[in-house]
């Protein structure tokens, strides 16, 4: 496309921005009736138990209680809550309510009543007898433990992911390229390091919530704060054991997702209540439920073995990941793949051999799920930290060692399904980052007059753009009166701005203003099929579907215009607001074409296209952190964070920048403050925003974001993705900076002040 872009590449306002900023009703609880059953779940106080008796008689007698359900009332067909394309790689290991309880917070009973007071009273009156079983709380002890989290015979996996419930194994796998043993044997330097990251939370501001009712056709109408309306439909059909044709799912505005809402966490409970009672119902998760029965990042222990030459050429990488999926297997078999699959290919440059192997185990803590980065974050923390340590040990500049080894445009990435790095400016990202950040000045360790230490660290990252060969994005574009368009999608804008970005693409294709495009979605009845918004797919996959639909629609518009102008279509040119004959002799306005389509016309001015991609072109980025560390207290303050991102063509620079800044700050939280601590009975202490400390605006430091766009031929207007990659560099860059300041490598997150202060005290550096 040679002409100058008018809408793509512009920092236009998000289409919903002013309504949201002015607090207009937009979210689930704002737009659904207040007059409906309140649904709550009684949650297990035990990490592992079997219900040996449950008495709901007293609870049912509470005035205002409509229903109390236990494991005896629900369908006995297992399903998964993971919002993934069918057949899901996640095992079918759930029931709506199970007799076996697998973590503190697992669902024991569902209570529905007229108001919250009645439901709370009823919850207190349910009498449960628990047969308490030994829990598995340490994921390192889960594999082949005599205690089984899923001993049931009807547990099953639809896909071959190496799962074996009789070994507490949710997935297992290995892949390699080259002769890893031989290359290691030939390396000057071989390092092996083990890293531990915890099950941190998305902590989106709007908790999980769902409203359900029976509509006038007798179907189950579900309004849910979800990223995946079509997956919700299938999962509810599986869970309730009813036909998918009986379910209609839509989403309103979503108060943040970050992957959490790619799992059907809340939906089954009100859906079951409504299906059984015929009454409208609503479930709003408390923050405590969100923290204790949500869908956080997979805890992982990642071991990296790296082989290199003395000059810093990285020749071999062997990554082993032990992943903790918790009580259920949602996203267990898939997240783990990214811990190696998005870290090893970064070093394609000189890599001669690699191996990636993993085990994913069940334990008795809350089930993990999808969180921005989806395993890549954990793997990149490990690999990037190891590479920085290699550089420090060899006395090579950590930027230089990356320039020497990084993947370059055009290279085939053996550890990335042999996909080519078709569009890659990682080298430019790194050099520009170093220049703008002032790496040469900030990398040397400096001391302030009050005894604090300033230091810097670096990391780089990649992610994907959709799931290759799996994700489907669709768009439907319709011309309406006055010549405006309605774009219907089932990608889910969760605040990211994809409604606006896709409207920008539509406007670009149809040569109109973004204001001429109304966006609708997501709705399983009205929207064309889309896998949903996850895996950094929407801009890249659904964006391409928008382009295709627009091409098709233009043809239809011209066909109708040809009828109106009584000339062959081949003589017509689409000019946005009008269609003209090439010789300039006649034209018809878009508005007139639209009107004509509604009177005596048999041409539908609507086009729907789907898109799927056989490849998943990675976005790349470089990040550098400058910290100030107090060696006596261990306090780490982020002073500056510089990021340079290659997300391909930047569709909306404002929104891409905010995506980046938001991801950086989430990752700063993961690196420094967001802790997860279970006690010996499996209870999580960080069960609120009081205890689970996400960053405030006082700990972000100054963020500086730039783009170094490549052009990805397979993406819309050359775009790749940005949603997830932005969370991957801060943890390793900050850990590196802390090493520079202290001489200690911290391989477990979060890096709390205490760890640093006590290490330095033992070194004799901290206390005076």
């Amino acid at each position: 496309m040679n002409r100058e872009l008018k809408s793509v590449g512009k920092g236009v306002r998000k289409k919903d921005a002013m309504q949201l900023l002015l607090g207009k009703p937009a979210y689930l609880d704002d737009i659904t009736p207040r007059d409906c059953l309140v649904v709550k779940v009684l949650r297990s106080p035990h990490a592992h138990a079997v219900i040996s008796g449950i008495n709901t008689e007293f609870a049912k007698k509470v005035p205002g209680i409509a229903a109390v359900y236990t494991w005896e009332d629900v369908p006995q067909k297992r399903f998964t809550m993971a919002g993934q394309t069918y057949p899901e790689p996640s095992p079918y290991d759930r029931l709506i309510l199970d007799r076996r309880l697998r973590f503190v917070g697992d669902a024991v009973a569902i209570v529905a009543g007229e108001d919250e007071r009645a439901v709370n009273r009823a919850l207190r009156l349910i009498r449960v007898k628990y047969e308490i079983l030994p829990p598995i709380l340490d994921f390192r002890a889960a594999l082949d433990n005599e205690t089984l989290v899923h001993p049931e015979e009807d547990w099953h996996a639809l896909c071959e992911v190496g799962a074996d419930n009789k070994r507490n194994l949710c997935a297992k796998g290995e892949e390699q390229g080259g002769d890893i043993s031989a290359v290691f044997a030939d390396c000057d330097v071989v390092m092996e390091r083990t890293f531990h990251t915890k099950a941190v939370h998305q902590a989106m501001m709007e908790t999980f919530r769902t409203y359900t009712e029976i509509d006038h056709f007798g179907r189950l109408h579900v309004i849910s704060s979800t990223q995946v309306v079509f997956h919700v439909r299938r999962i509810l059909a599986n869970a309730l054991d009813i036909p998918k044709s009986k379910i209609h799912v839509e989403k309103p505005r979503i108060g943040g997702g970050f992957g959490a809402k790619q799992t059907v966490v809340a939906e089954v409970y009100p859906a079951f209540v409504t299906w059984k009672t015929g009454r409208a119902a609503k479930m709003i998760y408390t923050r405590k439920e969100c923290q204790t029965a949500g869908s956080p990042r997979h805890e992982m222990e990642v071991t990296v073995k790296l082989g290199a030459d003395r000059d810093g050429r990285i020749r071999a990488l062997d990554v082993y990941t032990l992943s903790n999926t918790g009580a259920y297997g949602e996203h267990g078999p898939t997240t783990v793949g990214l811990s190696g699959g998005k870290s090893i290919p970064l070093y394609t440059g000189a890599l001669e051999a690699y191996r990636f192997s993993y085990d994913v185990v069940y334990t008795n803590v809350q089930s993990s799920g999808a969180y921005r980065g989806y395993g890549a974050t954990q793997g990149i923390f490990a690999v990037e930290s190891t590479v920085s340590e290699l550089a420090e040990n060899l006395g090579v500049d950590p930027v230089a060692i990356r320039m020497k080894n990084m993947v370059r445009e055009g290279q085939i990435m053996p550890a990335y399904q042999n996909e080519p790095a078709s569009a890659c400016t990682l080298d430019r990202c790194m050099l520009r980052c170093a220049e703008s950040f002032g790496w040469d000045e900030k990398y040397p360790v400096r001391f302030t007059s009050d005894g604090k230490i300033r230091a810097a660290g670096v990391a780089m990252a990649m992610q994907g753009s959709g799931i290759a060969g799996v994700d489907v994005g669709s768009a439907s574009v319709k011309l309406s009166e006055d010549g405006f368009y309605v774009l219907r999608i089932a990608a889910a804008d969760m605040g990211t701005g994809c409604d606006t970005i896709l409207a920008q693409m539509t406007a670009e294709c149809m040569d109109c203003s973004v204001d001429d495009v109304a966006v609708f979605g997501a709705d399983t009845d009205a929207s064309p099929y889309d896998s949903g918004s996850y895996a950094s797919a929407t801009t890249y996959i659904t964006g391409r579907a928008v382009e295709k639909a627009c091409i098709e629609l233009k043809e239809k518009i011209c066909t109708l215009a040809a009828e109106m102008l009584d000339c062959p279509v081949s003589e017509l040119i689409f000019e946005g607001r009008q269609v003209v004959r090439a010789d300039g002799s006649a034209s018809v306005s878009l508005a007139d074409i639209a009107v004509k389509s509604m009177c005596g016309s048999d041409i539908a001015l609507e086009a729907t296209s789907s898109h799927s991609s056989p490849v998943s072109p990675p976005p790349f980025m470089a990040g550098m952190a400058e910290i100030e560390l107090d060696p006596e207290t261990g306090t780490v303050d982020i002073l500056n964070y510089k990021a340079v991102v290659d997300c391909g063509t930047v569709i909306n620079p404002n929104l891409a920048r905010i995506q980046t800044e938001g991801g950086l700050v989430q990752a700063i939280g993961m690196a420094l403050t967001e802790n997860i601590q279970y006690d010996d009975r499996g209870r999580l202490s960080e069960n609120s925003l009081l205890q689970y400390r996400i960053p405030t605006r006082l700990e972000t430091g100054r963020l500086d974001v730039e783009f170094a766009p490549s052009y990805e031929e397979s993406g819309p207007f050359g775009a790749k993705s940005i949603g997830e990659i932005v969370i991957n560099t801060p943890a390793p860059a900050i850990a590196h900076a802390i090493y520079r300041a202290t001489g200690h490598w911290y391989r477990e997150l979060p890096i709390l002040p205490e760890k640093i202060a006590l290490d330095l005290l033992r070194d004799g550096k901290g206390g005076k």
Binding site: D16, L20, K24, M204, G497, N652, L690, T696, R697
Partner: protein, 154 residues
């Protein structure tokens, strides 16, 4: 218990149970801008003005507003509209769920300190959590508004 308060400049009388929290009361009374993000007085999403001061409506019993004035974003649309476009120009509203609390506290800040520095903005808004934006875009938006106002461009 019967209470009389001024809600968004309108005097209203209501019969409320003593343990109804102001947040729930306001949402039931047509003020859906007031959001709940936690149960621990930690997030700032439910910020409203109580006798002109910003408070967490999740931590106020509705009965304690008897005889007082409560203002939500529904009652301050014009004052908010003066500056929120600058936030929109940054794309910093993102999911928007924290926006009403953040906008309310910004209004309180700007009434108390009409020309704050960026650090004063950060300090005053420290109790307003946002998980999407990384905060810096919000600060840039407020800065752009203040600069435009100072330059007489509003």
């Amino acid at each position: 218990m019967e209470i009389t308060l001024t809600l968004n400049n309108k005097k209203i009388t209501a019969d409320v149970p003593p343990d109804t929290i102001l947040l729930d009361f306001l949402r039931e009374r047509g003020c859906p801008s007031v959001k709940c993000g936690c149960e621990t007085s930690s997030c700032g999403l439910c910020t409203v003005l109580l006798d002109e001061k910003p408070v967490l409506s999740c931590s106020v019993l509705a009965v304690r507003t008897d005889g007082r004035s409560v203002t939500t974003l529904e009652g301050l649309q014009d004052e908010a509209a003066e500056f929120v476009g600058f936030i929109a120009d940054q794309g910093a509203e993102q999911c928007g769920f924290c926006n009403p609390g953040y906008v309310m506290n910004t209004i309180a800040l700007l009434r108390e300190n009409p020309d704050p520095s960026d650090d004063e903005v950060r300090a005053y808004l420290a109790g307003n959590l946002c998980r999407c934006s990384g905060y810096e875009g919000q600060t840039r938006g407020i800065r752009a508004f203040l600069d435009a106002r100072r330059a007489g461009k509003l």
